[in-house]
């Protein structure tokens, strides 16, 4: 096994506020560890407020108060060099950004500056990394756009002149023009309709194949994960509760929460309406003791109410944090 391009270990990031002497702590990311291999698409799933966005903010070092990193480390391995992203100086960080580490952001509709032409945005983001004179740089950009089946004329357009799907494609081209080793994609297709979504996902897959980059792909949409991710991590209430190869997770989910997430996907020929999971995600300012899923869990026991289950790895590398993980037969009967 090669060394991972991203290694997150025991990461703990809380939102800490204090108003009138009252301390408040929201435990958005609690003891998260994960590793992503070169060339891998790692899917991160979970419902809203499960801490997905906070986790990527921390990984990308886009930390604004009141968010604080309390413990753990985020290590990148770019071109054989190791970078602890929280220990870098601003100048060193700027040198990595976009060259090795780029983003496709949530709400991609608005990530392009409305008063700048697409060409100027490309220059702002990528010119300093390519290291060629401007005309040659623009040739590189045009070739890249053509590879992604985009007309080079989009460079002269303003963002408002492009459709939503087109803008998202331009953003993907922007995020990949420097051939980064690692791309963070935060809900990149959530705002798009399914037809455009399919095209955009195909494009991400294609460019990932061509560049050999790793992608951390975050979405709550399990159907997207089923089609795109190589490996899948399930987040619940600030913790990773299950992780494994995507096919394994879908075929035989071990954690009861994963079972419900997958069970929520519609299948052709479904006769009965889907059952919702009762209850709501816990308040992360005051999470329940023990396993954070136990108030909603059909298999909860006294042990779950008292102790926090550790994320155990089995022989095949599948990880699950549950005292009563499902066996394959149980999982299949529920889904």
């Amino acid at each position: 096994m090669t060394s991972p391009v991203l290694a997150v270990s025991d990461l703990r990031a809380y939102y800490r506020t204090s108003a009138f002497g009252v301390q408040r702590e929201v435990r958005a990311v609690d003891d998260v560890s994960l590793a992503i291999q070169p060339g891998e698409i790692y899917g991160l799933a979970g419902e809203s407020s499960s801490g997905k966005t906070t986790l990527i903010k921390t990984i990308a070092n886009a930390i604004q108060p009141p968010l604080q990193v309390l413990a753990g480390s985020v290590l990148f391995d770019f071109a054989g060099q190791r970078f602890d992203i929280h220990a870098l100086r601003p100048r060193e960080l700027a040198a990595i950004r976009w060259k090795h580490l780029s983003y496709i952001m949530q709400g991609s509709m608005n990530v392009l500056n409305p008063v700048r032409r697409v060409r100027q945005t490309f220059v702002d983001f990528a010119f300093r990394h390519i290291g060629r004179p401007l005309p040659e740089f623009l040739d590189v950009v045009r070739q890249h756009l053509q590879r992604l089946h985009l007309e080079p004329q989009v460079l002269e357009a303003y963002p408002h002149q492009l459709s939503g799907g087109m803008r998202q494609r331009v953003t993907i081209a922007l995020a990949t023009v420097c051939r980064p080793q690692f791309i963070i994609a935060d809900e990149p297709t959530t705002a798009l309709d399914v037809v455009v979504q399919k095209g955009v996902l195909g494009m991400i897959h294609e460019v990932q194949r061509a560049l050999g980059s790793s992608i951390l792909f975050v979405t709550h949409d399990m159907a997207v994960h089923a089609n795109l991710s190589d490996r899948l991590g399930i987040m619940y209430a600030g913790r990773i509760v299950e992780e494994g190869r995507t096919a394994d997770v879908f075929r035989a989910p071990r954690h009861p929460y994963t079972t419900h997430l997958i069970g929520s996907l519609p299948h052709l020929g479904d006769a009965a309406p889907k059952q919702g999971l009762p209850g709501a995600p816990p308040n992360l300012a005051d999470p329940p003791p023990g396993c954070r899923f136990h108030p909603r869990c059909p298999r909860a026991s006294d042990l779950c109410r008292r102790d926090v289950p550790a994320l155990e790895t089995d022989a095949s590398g599948h990880r699950v944090a549950c005292f009563h993980p499902a066996t394959e037969s149980v999982a299949e009967s529920i889904s």
Partner: protein, 334 residues
């Protein structure tokens, strides 16, 4: 979808329409005042001795011709437009027989120079500081500037102006009290004259800037603190785009769009500002001229100043509107 030339044409049409309506209103207002300039001139000319009735009738006839007051209202209206298009507003009453156009032409550079430059200066400075204050929220110096701007903003303009006059003209007399240039100067393009003009403009410009700065500063600061949370700014920061570039092209550039509209509107207020400023500082501009014209019942001078100010303000707003698509490309498509 409209193109840029169509945009220019519509704006030009609006400009012509605004000027047309404005001048019509000026015509209606001046023609409904109880002051009859012809009778006033005759009264002024005859108050020191008697003149024969035939001479007065002759005088009335030629004065009516001078002021364009012959015939019915319709005739007068068309004669009025013909003269305006030729740039002829007739002779001034209070400075007979100097033409109004000469008087206005003499005063206009002073007003334009003082108010236009101080408005632009205040706008640029206020937006720059406000933008920096919105972007660098932690900076102590900028926070202090914000408090200062907020403190000065609500003070009535004339109070600030008089306080400045008392402090720098009387208690600590380092700056001239009034006028546009030194009494003993000849109007020539010499360093001495330019220096004197600059020295005389310090207090008026300072008073206008102190009061005007706060509005732009606070407006820009709140605009910027909104724009900082926009996706494209967050994205550029994640992308490692240079901070100076983010501040200039991502934050300030987008915040400037509504501020430019504000500038166009404040240019419209220049002539209001001129009246108070020029009165307080005894500045030889259009404001002073207008006030004395109203006192003297100088009908044609008031009409001339009104017309010129309507055209000037509309022209300034038109120019800004024509630049608008360069600032916000989305306007071009609309």
């Amino acid at each position: 979808m409209k193109t840029y030339p169509t945009y220019i044409l519509t704006r030009l049409g609006q400009f012509v329409l605004v000027v047309f309506i404005g001048i019509n209103i000026a015509f209606i207002v001046t023609h409904s005042t109880p002051i009859d300039p012809v009778e006033q001139s005759i009264a002024a000319a005859t108050q020191y001795g008697s003149t024969s009735p035939e001479a007065i009738a002759l005088m009335r006839q030629s004065l009516k011709e001078l002021y364009g007051l012959q015939g019915g209202l319709a005739d007068q209206y068309f004669a009025f437009w013909r003269r305006i298009l030729l740039g002829d507003f007739g002779p001034s009453l209070s400075a007979f027989p100097t033409p109004v156009s000469v008087l206005v032409g003499r005063a206009l550079p002073w007003t334009a120079g003082l108010l236009l430059s101080s408005t632009l200066l205040t706008w640029v400075l206020g937006n720059l500081l406000g933008g920096l204050a919105g972007y660098y929220r932690q900076s102590r110096a900028l926070r202090f500037a914000g408090i200062l701007a907020m403190a000065f903003h609500p003070i009535p303009y004339y109070v600030v102006a008089f306080v400045l006059l008392i402090v720098f003209g009387y208690l600590w007399p380092i700056l001239p009290l009034s006028g546009g240039y030194g009494m003993n100067m000849t109007r020539a393009l010499s360093w001495g004259f330019i220096g004197s003009v600059a020295l005389h403009s310090i207090l008026p410009v300072l008073s206008l800037a102190l009061v005007g700065l706060g509005g732009w500063f606070m407006g820009m600061r709140s605009l910027v603190s909104n724009i900082v949370t926009e996706d494209y700014v967050a994205y550029a920061e994640l992308g490692g785009v240079k901070r100076s570039r983010i501040l200039a092209s991502y934050v300030m550039r987008n915040a400037l769009v509504p501020q430019v509209t504000g500038l166009a509107m404040s240019l419209g207020a220049i002539f209001n500002g001129a009246i108070i400023t020029e009165q307080v500082f005894g500045y030889p501009g259009v404001g002073t001229l207008l006030v004395s014209a109203v006192y003297a019942g100088d009908y044609s001078l008031v009409l001339g100043i009104t017309t010129v100010s309507i055209v000037a303000v509309s022209l300034a707003v038109l120019l800004i509107d024509l630049c608008y698509p360069l600032i916000d490309p989305r306007v071009r498509a609309r």
